[in-house]
Symmetry: C2
């Protein structure tokens, strides 16, 4: 039994190591100079703006939180939920918000330090600071994810197992509550990612249009007062939002695997081991990420003075390889030790998951990197105007859905059938979930590289706004370029794993329904209610995309109106401008933009469930998953390719030409797709699943009482 | 038995009436003056270009035809198909090509007559000519659709029933061959619609960009040699392609209903009646269309001299109402007479179908007409540049998928459950198919209004190219506006019915599999192969869209290069330009662009079938249907709204302003979505279904032999 205790403790140890390192890294960054007074001022303004936004967001989340806790409370009262769901939901949401705040704080306190290093030291030193700060953020995510899942598992394990209760039934309660705990993380991610996405793109579009197109100013020109809002956006959307999103994915995958492990091992003595194993693989991922971070740091430290972009790019890529390889090795021993060699097929499933994630990442690179045909062709088509740029961008984005989809299908079939050797579909499903956990184990490292980008971007903004010599901006631009390749792969990997996680969550819902002994025949050709559920699911991503990019458009319009007014006064030397006005405008618009989608995410599964029954809800989940995955990849890659096509034209020194203007239009169209709607798809898919799970018993009951056809 | 004979003859009578009237209308048009020598020249050039394109297309179709007939022949040899499939496929493809040619001929011989009437006579007289020509086209479609389906039904009824064969088994063979006959129509539609769509938009984008944007010429300026190709495109894409598409939809719906009628009434004495009924409803639709055409013609004739746009618009709308009302009345008596009052629920199903189609049409109007919020907002957003126009256009297009999807879901559930009163799902499915047939019965009238548009458009092109006074172009522009509202409703209706038809075809496939006694459990949560099939289906429309709009982009680039060269020489008075060069370029590009999609449509269902089994194919069909429907509506409405937003700015006299340029970019992005990829979705969906049906026995056999998991 001490083996079991060790297994239960390992995630806490991993979490603790991550925390210590995160603190060390953050304090290393704090020792560096914050730069000139002007740099500090701007950095402070960005921090203040980000905090103001997050505070406003936290208030809005608070309102939803209270309403939902009351609803859940009512459900507990009527016996449709167990009471530990209430605190579980609270911590899921709370931790997500906290790492959003801390991540934002780390980014905004490091940005001017990076600018200063780029000015006074070297590319290598600037990279060192930015990467160290980003590592602190990434490891903090590891801390929270491991702690949160392990904490609830152990608490519930004790609570339901006290007094020597039957293991199977107590573990059933444990995994049920665990599932409901992810709903908090998902819901927080929805607010942070979607609200942040609206904020960042509205500020970006508005600032760019008035600044660059109408007034002929450069990007981040100090005379454009909307620029601060744009930089705030990078922190609240690309740092805070992205972190909450990844936390949600990771926790969701772990807990879905635990649920499916429970189902597969119900009558096995390895029941608890199977439930703990996903947490151990996640811990392995955190440790692998730490290894990679240290290797990168030592290489960067050694070549600090004479580092080049390509060398640093290769270093971050190598980091990703190391993480992946270490995860594979550790998974092998994890499966062998925890479940025994007869379950080796689960290692193959996790191997398939890791490789598939990596493959999807490479496909993302293929479609969005200027070295390859798609992006090159898009930038080429700028010669015939903005329309052909956009059309080509959309076309390649749509084409790019094929290979990732086939990969997800492949890994799904592979991990199912390899685990199904004993003809036990439950084991097959557990295999699929383990593949998702393994794929996502790379999260701390992926997030490190992802957070690195906005820090470099912010540093560049500060360089421009403080009117540094062009060489400084050039260094920060190089810095920004370093992480791009690795970040593109990481992004693709996260999208791919979201699909598999959602699949595992959908399976969990379905299994929960089955446990309720509700008859669900999913025959969409004999039962039009199932077909209707699939249909609604397929439409949902279209509807959400339209709501979100519509919100960006509205907010951007307001930014444009205000910026026109302010820039006119600034250029006439009548005023110094009021950057805070933009933050207020965009914050309000972002918050307003997520109210309707936020309500819909809770209402739709319930309404579909009441009208079409539990089978219709399963179909809804799957329809949303398939269509949302396609939309997510389409939008991410269209936007990425359009962005890089523009950058390619700029790098070729053609800024200011008609081709460049055409590519700017393309980039502006792609931006809300890539940074607002696209990333929200993952959360939409998973929220629909977890809300369905949360309300499953209620809906089955209501449907049974109301309809009998 | 004389009642049965009468039923069998009615479609022929309807077909004959349509033919006579089409001939009369066509000769009425030919009596009008062809206009000035220059008008005749241009009209002849458009005709020659269109014919050249269709000839090239026919050759390409011939190659595919021979290859497919050989493959089908091999399948017949090995007993996987019955031999009458071979000639059935040939006529399905042949008739489609013939009405493409004749429709093109009617349009190109009437265009200059309309221009001349607009110049010398009045708006009313111009409308009269254009509408009469379009009616001839619409009724010809009725002729072919009714004749073809009735012909094959009667031939096969005789062939399989000779020597007093058992009714049920002989009718089984009849409906099986009938299903395979639609494959010819669908395949021809694919070539004509998709190839034509690439042609028309490549010519349009290229001509517009070099002419309007680069050289500052007006639309259809006589100095732009690519303009002829643009006008040819209207005829081959919007006339020939659209007609083939509608024929395919209509025939597909009728035959799917016959197949499902066979299944629902297998053990009933009303078996033959149930199979004939869809053809009678279709005949009723043709007669209702004739009624509406006569009423419109008499109103236009009465007010010929002082007609206004709004009056004529209301007249065409009234025509649509009359058609719909007459179809409803005739369906009521058809169901009562042919099946008896105890089957009244099938009348309700058809009522639901007609109303749903009409409703979807209204939603199309809501999202694409400049009177309503979406298009108004898009045109408003032109103030902040092209990117916001495009983003808004895409957002509203995505939003616009919701209401049509809910309507289709609603009519599907309604017609299923109202027909399922006797708890017989087969009857429920027949009800759904009858709803589709009723919805599509309006086709001849809808096509009349649809063909009317390109004729008016061509007439305007001729007015500009022959340098008529601006008043003439103004009159033809008004003429063009007349049909827009009704055509928008008609287009929505056709998209809606395509979804239901595809559903009925999918059901036919599924039922065919069931009859083969292959076990297909469609449980996508227990069998990942079903999920994989759904997934591939959802991706397919994205892939096709990318291939098609990519082909448009490539072809447009070539047009731009050639047009730059020629226009330079023309403006320098060095040459008169060579319009035929463009037709050659675009024809080649269009044909090349459909080879890969054309092959994929045949290969994918077979490969999916062999790897994932018959259940995977059912899932493939449904996935393609759901995602393709959403894509079709999204692209049609995005494109429509962007087009009308541009027109609104032009009508407000803001042509030449930056807002106008922004809206032109939006329109150019929307064009290939609306006119190339969007309409191809319907055909893709149905081709995937019919190819699956055609290869069902083969695939079931291969899958059984190759895989056993």
């Amino acid at each position: 039994m001490s083996g079991l205790l060790l297994m239960r403790i390992i995630p806490f140890i991993g979490s603790f190591i991550c925390l210590i390192l995160a603190i060390i890294f953050a304090s290393l960054v704090r020792k560096k100079s914050r730069g000139t007074t002007r740099m500090k001022e701007i950095s402070d303004a960005i921090f203040a703006g980000s905090r103001a936004y997050l505070n406003q967001q936290a208030r809005m989340m608070g309102i939803f939180f209270v309403v939902l806790e009351i609803l859940f409370g009512v459900m507990v009262y009527f016996g449709y939920l167990e009471w530990p769901s209430l605190p579980a939901f609270a911590t899921g949401m709370g931790f997500s918000l906290i790492i959003g705040y801390i991540g934002m704080w780390i980014s905004t306190t490091s940005n001017s330090r990076v600018t200063f290093a780029a000015k006074e030291k070297s590319l290598g030193e600037a990279m060192n600071i930015a990467f160290t700060a980003a590592s602190a953020s990434g490891l903090l995510l590891g801390t929270v994810a491991l702690f949160d899942t392990a904490f609830w598992f152990n608490i519930l394990y004790w609570y339901y197992g006290r007094g020597g209760a039957d293991t199977v039934s107590s573990m059933g309660s444990v995994v049920n509550i665990l599932i409901t705990f992810t709903i908090g993380a998902s819901f927080a991610a929805f607010f942070m990612r979607t609200g942040g996405g609206i904020f960042t793109k509205a500020a970006d579009m508005g600032a760019d249009y008035v600044g660059k197109v109408e007034s002929g100013l450069e990007e981040d020109d100090y005379r454009n007062p909307a620029t601060i809002a744009d930089n705030v956006g990078d922190n609240v959307g690309d740092v805070g939002g992205m972190k909450a999103d990844s936390l949600e994915s990771w926790v969701g995958a772990i807990i879905a695997a635990e649920f499916l492990g429970f189902l597969a091992f119900r009558s096995s003595p390895l029941l608890i081991n199977s439930i703990i194993m996903p947490m151990i693989i996640a811990t392995a991922g955190a440790l692998a990420s730490i290894l990679a971070i240290f290797i990168i740091k030592s290489i960067v430290g050694r070549y600090r003075e004479n580092a080049t972009v390509s060398m640093l790019t290769i270093t971050t890529l190598a980091g990703l390889f190391i993480t992946v390889a270490a995860i594979i090795v550790m998974s092998f021993f994890t499966v062998k030790t925890i479940l025994g060699p007869q379950y080796n097929f689960l290692f193959y499933a996790s191997l398939g998951g890791v490789l598939a994630g990596f493959l999807i990442g490479l496909f993302t690179l293929l479609y969005t990197d200027a070295r390859y045909r798609p992006t090159r062709n898009i930038s080429e088509s700028a010669k015939t105007g903005p329309a052909t740029v956009v059309v080509n961008g959309l076309a390649y984005g749509m084409e790019s859905t094929l290979l990732p989809a086939l990969t997800v299908i492949g890994v799904m079939l592979f991990s199912f059938f390899i685990s199904n050797g004993s003809s036990d579909p439950k084991m097959g499903l557990y295999g699929v979930a383990v593949a998702a956990v393994a794929m996502l184990a790379v999260t701390p490292f992926a997030i490190t590289i992802d957070v690195y980008g906005p820090i470099a971007d912010n540093a560049g903004g500060i360089a421009s706004m403080t009117e540094q010599p062009p060489a400084v901006r050039k260094t920060t631009d190089k810095l920004d370029a370093v992480g791009n390749t690795t970040a593109a792969i990481g992004k693709g990997l996260l999208i791919g794993s979201a699909a598999i996680t959602a699949l595992a969550l959908g399976q969990s819902y379905f299994s929960k329904i089955e446990l309720l002994k509700v008859d669900v025949a999913l025959d969409f050709m004999r039962d039009p209610k199932i077909l209707a559920g699939l249909f609604i699911g397929v439409i949902l991503p279209f509807l959400f995309t339209s709501l979100l990019i519509g919100a960006v458009g509205n907010a951007a319009n307001k930014v444009v109106v205000e910026a026109r007014k302010q820039i006119k006064d600034i250029l006439a030397n009548k005023s110094k401008g009021d950057p805070r006005a933009f933050i207020t405008i965009v914050t309000r618009a972002a918050q307003r933009g997520i109210i309707l989608p936020g309500i819909m995410i809770f209402v739709i599964p319930v309404v579909v469930g009441i009208l079409l029954g539990p089978g219709g809800v399963v179909a809804l989940i799957i329809g949303t998953l398939l269509s949302g995955f396609a939309q997510a990849i389409f939008m991410a890659n269209s936007g990425g390719a359009l962005d890089n096509a523009k950058k390619k034209i700029e790098e070729e020194g053609r800024a200011g030409t008609p081709e460049h203007s055409a590519s700017v239009v393309g980039d502006t169209v792609g931006d809300p797709l890539k940074d607002t709607a696209g990333p929200s798809m993952n959360i939409l898919i998973k929220l629909i699943s977890v809300v369905s799970i949360e309300t499953a018993v209620l809906i089955a009951d209501l449907y049974g009482k109301l309809f009998h056809f």
